[in-house]
Symmetry: C2
Subunit: 215 residues, 2 copies
Amino acid sequence: MEEKRISKAVISRLPRYYRYLGELLEDGVERISSSDLSIKMKVTASQIRQDLNNFGGFGQQGYGYNVMYLHGEIAKILGIDRPHKIIIIGAGHLGNAIANYANFERSGFIVSALFDVKSELFGKTIRGAQIYNLDELESYLKKEDIDIAALTVPKDEARAISRRLTDAGIKAIWNFAHTDLAVAAGVVVENVHLSESLMRLSYKVKSAKEDEFDI
Amino acid sequence: MEEKRISKAVISRLPRYYRYLGELLEDGVERISSSDLSIKMKVTASQIRQDLNNFGGFGQQGYGYNVMYLHGEIAKILGIDRPHKIIIIGAGHLGNAIANYANFERSGFIVSALFDVKSELFGKTIRGAQIYNLDELESYLKKEDIDIAALTVPKDEARAISRRLTDAGIKAIWNFAHTDLAVAAGVVVENVHLSESLMRLSYKVKSAKEDEFDI
């Protein structure tokens, strides 16, 4: 598998390429040179050429990149050339926000259902996705082929629920709970720790201020 | 400023140290050795010692780290030893979720107000923070000393609003809009691109599957 040798750093940049190429597609742009893409994305043209050469070099000298082809190839590499079904555990504010975020659908991420413990929520729907009793989680996962579970529950419940999810066959957890999950081999986790993002921002503010005083 | 020489990688790990130390504090733990912290955090003890040595080595041989002291020192480095006032632009689902996330307050991030363009929202409050007409943004920022603006608006509006914010003196933007902001020197941005996080998860799922087939 050639793709495996692609560095983590390159992979982490691919979603951003995908986003810019998607915008170019929307604007009807068919071809773009590495230097034009470089100006748009504010990275060097040589970085772009290096990154995209990892996938067999879709560009042609003096001709540029075929936007639609490159967009499609990156989609394949990221695994978003097919739809993903998501369930959301926790139908609170954050679960609601995720279920309402139409942008995900454009990349093929479809929210199938939500689960909560609050009985007043059972049977309600958010953009067509029903809220179920968390007790029904295992029976739901037996019937439905779900790719990803988003966890938006308090940290004290996150570990127990992630165990239930993986026991029921879920292989990917999008974790918003403010804790690290210990999962079995073969299960992947992507963390979104919003508090830590805020702390990084706070650090940047502080460092920028110190730079000012240095002048 | 000695702190400036600390690598980005170390800084990016500090919020996680801060979180674990906070949990230890809550559990009444006063001292912890690098090896015990290493087991809890699933990183090597030598990594922990290296990381924390950057700040003058708070640990003592055979004695361990003073949890409260280390927690406090990391807070200072991250700039969260003082409160930060936040406004949220966009009182939709995501803005609501952020305003309702009580966890931020524990680290001193206080939501002061929200702004939106929907008149039916004006005057409502979320956990004590009022929703204002976006037209009042500049006059509000003249009166109040705000540190951070969270942007939860559609991408087409994000750039214009970020310009208004920085023109009005905001130095830090927590950007949830699905676009990159171009900001003036001295303004810092921390992006939370949820779609890109989902794509990274999709890539991890795909890679894990390929690993399986390799066996």
